[in-house]
């Protein structure tokens, strides 16, 4: 049976380019995945990392990116993202904005955020 995945929209407090990632590079997501996974492994530990199996699915712009993870490990991954405070000696914070089962929903949501078109979700 196929493992169910979850996509997480994350906002970085610092520009992603400051972590040494070139956004124009076609392998930008893979490179960023390699960088961030080191820190996620440290926060999650081997076993929880296996449950989450995180990968950067897309970098939307200099602040927003989407992480794909297995459904079972998503809660732990969200906590791990909150605990990461430094990437490659750059102080940063990762805020989990939204989670969804499809990447398309998150892309639309992020586009709305950038254009201030999102309807107040608290209402």
């Amino acid at each position: 049976m196929r493992d169910k995945s979850r996509y997480i929209l994350v906002e970085s407090s610092e520009d992603i380019e400051k972590f040494g990632i070139k956004l124009n590079d076609e392998n930008a997501s893979k490179n960023f995945s390699r960088v961030i996974n080191k820190y996620l492994l440290f926060e999650l530990g081997d076993i929880n990392y296996t449950y989450a199996n995180p990968k950067v699915a897309a970098i939307l712009n200099n602040k927003f990116f989407i992480i794909k993870s297995l459904l079972k490990g998503t809660p732990n991954l969200i906590i791990a993202l909150a605990f990461i405070k430094q990437i490659n000696d750059v102080n940063t914070a990762f805020y989990t904005i939204k989670t969804s089962g499809t990447i398309r929903t998150l892309k639309e949501y992020a586009a709305g955020l950038n254009q201030n078109k999102i309807i107040d979700k608290n209402k």
Partner: protein, 174 residues
Amino acid sequence: MLYYDLVDSGCNIDPKMQFNLGFKKIFKNKNDIQIADVDSLKSDFNQYFIYGSNTSRLISGLRNGSAGLMINDYNLDKKLIQFTLGNKSPIIISINKLMHDTGFSRQRDLLFIRRLIKYIKARKIEFSIVTFADTDQYMCSYIQLLEISKLFFDNPNEAIKHITNLKKLIENER
């Protein structure tokens, strides 16, 4: 569900950031709510939420009209909690120390918070969980605050109640 958070005066919150993080309102120390350290030189804590390590000063502050207690070092001071119960003062639990610590210290913080919450909950004292971040770097989105709060409860569904009741808690004390 409306989520609320409380941060220290060092954070710069604009409405866009507040919206992105998913909170209805992020209360800020000195603007929306008054929070003071009892170990400071200040002497009048009337209508202040107070925190600190000196139990006798905390009890004295609560006796003299403080709005409530804020716990940010997670030591279970049974005498203080009992006094809070008698005084009907609410408690705010800050996870700022947990966010700053790493490794074994963080793991110990988690255990201490669990123990503290179990004790407070058994005595039916009103409490709320907040980040009380000192800088933007230590702020959390509501999803992160919820997932962290779920670690403190036996039943994860209880966590929602304690990150949505901050407004009620503050306004009751005014």
